[in-house]
């Protein structure tokens, strides 16, 4: 249980994709620090992106999008390092039946690998498609926001390795302020596509602990435009399930009315 009095402030990532140069140092640093297994030596042929998506074995994923848009030159590259969003209302955490997924004192969402029994419910629950099952291991894995490093007062490996400060780690409140300043600055400089994603505490997941500055619509980067933690609809779903169950009881009762 998080304790607002004694706990450290909530931390997160602000990933400013306008600064990303696609070097993938974040992917490598994450893998090395967290000892994440190899995720397939694929050659996708679609872009410089060969890790394809976030998965059990890819906790940072750099997306590459090539667009024919006259911005300075003939076309532009969009590059963005994606990561677990550490949602305020985390669907994965809500549906976990073992309590393996929990909220840390830093406000992040982490899987306890010694508790997870691989039921897989969090996998379709995540509205961002982040958490996934490691097939040969049977359990689910995702970004821990380097829980072990945070405990030792260090920043997460990806943010540490990022050479352009595209990945910024810090107190969420501070990051949100900095991000709104940055988006204004870009807008004033004529980058009208610049927008924040996941920064709003009133969105469908209560705001992301890891949010982004994007230069195009979220779906261009493979992100959902309006993600919702479906647990929000759960009271209504439980009510309907109760009505349906009562209906079944009634239907069986009715089947015994009348002649033999």
């Amino acid at each position: 249980m998080s304790d607002p009095v004694s706990d450290p402030p909530r931390v997160g990532f602000f990933t400013d994709t306008s600064l990303c140069i696609g070097c993938k140092a974040c992917e490598v640093a994450c893998k090395e620090w967290n000892r994440v297994p190899e995720d397939g030596l694929n050659f996708t042929g679609m872009s410089f992106d060969n890790s394809e998506r976030l998965s059990a074995d890819t906790w940072r994923h750099v997306a590459f999008i090539e667009q024919r848009k006259p911005v300075g030159g003939e076309f532009r590259w969009l590059m963005a390092s994606d990561v677990c969003k550490h949602c305020t209302d985390a669907a994965c955490l809500d549906v976990c039946p073992t309590g393996a997924l929990f909220r840390t004192e830093f406000g992040t969402v982490v899987v306890q690998e010694d508790v997870c029994n691989g039921c897989g419910y969090c996998v379709p629950a995540c509205p961002y498609g982040v958490i996934d099952k490691r097939e040969d291991d049977g359990r689910v894995w995702k970004c821990t926001l380097c829980y072990d490093r945070l405990g030792a007062g260090m920043e997460p490996a990806c943010a540490k390795a990022c050479p352009t400060d595209s990945i910024q780690f810090g107190e969420l409140e501070v990051l949100r302020e900095r991000a709104s300043g940055r988006v204004q600055q870009l807008q004033q400089a004529g980058v009208l596509d610049a927008r924040l994603y996941g920064h709003d505490p009133d969105d469908g997941v209560g705001g992301d602990g890891a949010f982004f500055l994007l230069l195009d619509e979220p779906e261009v980067y493979g992100l959902p435009p309006d993600p919702v933690a479906t647990t929000r609809d759960l009271p209504r779903m439980w009510r309907n399930a109760a009505i349906a169950a009562a209906g079944l009881l009634g239907a069986v009762g009715a089947s015994f009315a009348g002649r033999r």
């Binding site: 261009v220 479906t230 779903m237 239907a251």
Partner: protein, 294 residues
């Protein structure tokens, strides 16, 4: 618009045979227990017996399937560390922990003629009859409380689809195994269940928008069409000849059981297909955003 056509959400990692199989067997068990209690109360032992044995068989197979689907089956008991109303799976595990022993006790009375066991069996019959409908309906919430587009979009209707399907499956088992003189309640339940299921599915398909395509196309489409055809066939057979022909009653019952299984596997496959195509994640969200802006 998407990122190279890649999915946005993850497809469930669940195996169809385990989890769609459980959706079918759990529903069959739950509704069978309720129908069995009615049969016992109304003096139809020939109907009660196969239903009770069927329920305990189906729920036992379900538990095997559920444990088998875990990435770490040996850690099954970790499910009992916590009770979380926000997790339909947690609620379901506790529900099954109460229901399965009750269904077992109910069946015990059919197998053993023991003095003391009689009371236990009656208690089990009553308990399983009351918990059965919850076992049949909660699974609708289980799959709807995900980001899987075809499942969550249908979250209002899913519990009704599932109890309808469960009712016709239990009726099917009754028709298949009970003597003709005692199968009247099963015939009536078959009609109610079929009407409930077909209308709930229709309503769901109308309300989910573009995602409805996933229920009509590919393997899901084939299974959903087969489910409806078999349901109609089973109900028609039961109504016309279920009271006078043993063969007709059994065939109708088998058709209803098969229909319920097809519906569960069809819904499961629709969910998978909807997760694979980013369009089904993005388009409804864009639609919602437009509607909210208006």
């Amino acid at each position: 618009m998407s990122y190279y056509g890649r999915p946005v959400v993850k497809e469930p990692t669940w195996a169809a045979l385990d989890i769609a199989g459980y959706l079918f067997l759990g529903g069959l068990a739950g509704a069978s227990s309720t129908l069995a209690a009615g049969a016992e109360l109304s003096g139809r032992p020939g109907l009660a017996r196969p239903l009770k044995l069927g329920a305990v068989g189906a729920i036992s197979l379900s538990l095997v399937a559920l444990v088998h689907d875990l990435g770490r089956p040996a850690r099954f008991l970790n499910m009992l560390r916590v009770f979380k109303p926000t997790s339909p799976m947690s609620v379901g595990v506790w529900l099954l922990s109460a229901y399965a022993p009750a269904a077992g006790a109910a069946a015990l009375g059919e197998l053993a003629q023991l003095g003391r066991a009689r009371r236990l069996s009656r208690l089990g019959t009553a308990g399983a009859a009351l918990l059965g409908p919850a076992v049949a309906s909660y699974t609708g919430v289980l799959i709807a409380n995900t980001a899987t587009p075809a499942w969550h979009a249908g979250h209002r209707e899913m519990p009704f689809v599932f109890v309808g399907s469960a009712a016709s499956a239990a009726a099917g088992l009754g028709l298949l195994a009970a003597p003709l003189a005692e199968n009247a309640p099963a015939r009536r339940l078959a009609v109610i269940g079929a009407v409930a299921e077909i209308s709930a599915v229709r309503l769901l398909e109308r309300r989910v928008g573009i995602v409805a395509e996933t229920y009509h196309r590919g393997r899901a489409g084939t299974l959903m069409r087969a489910a409806e055809a078999l349901t109609v066939l089973g109900v028609a057979g039961a109504m016309r000849a279920g009271h006078r022909s043993r063969v007709a009653a059994a065939a109708s019952g088998a058709a209803l059981l098969a229909a319920s299984a097809c519906a569960r596997f069809g819904i499961f496959e629709a969910g998978r297909a909807s997760a694979r195509d980013p369009r089904y994640t993005v388009a409804p969200q864009r639609e919602r955003m437009r509607a909210e802006r208006r």
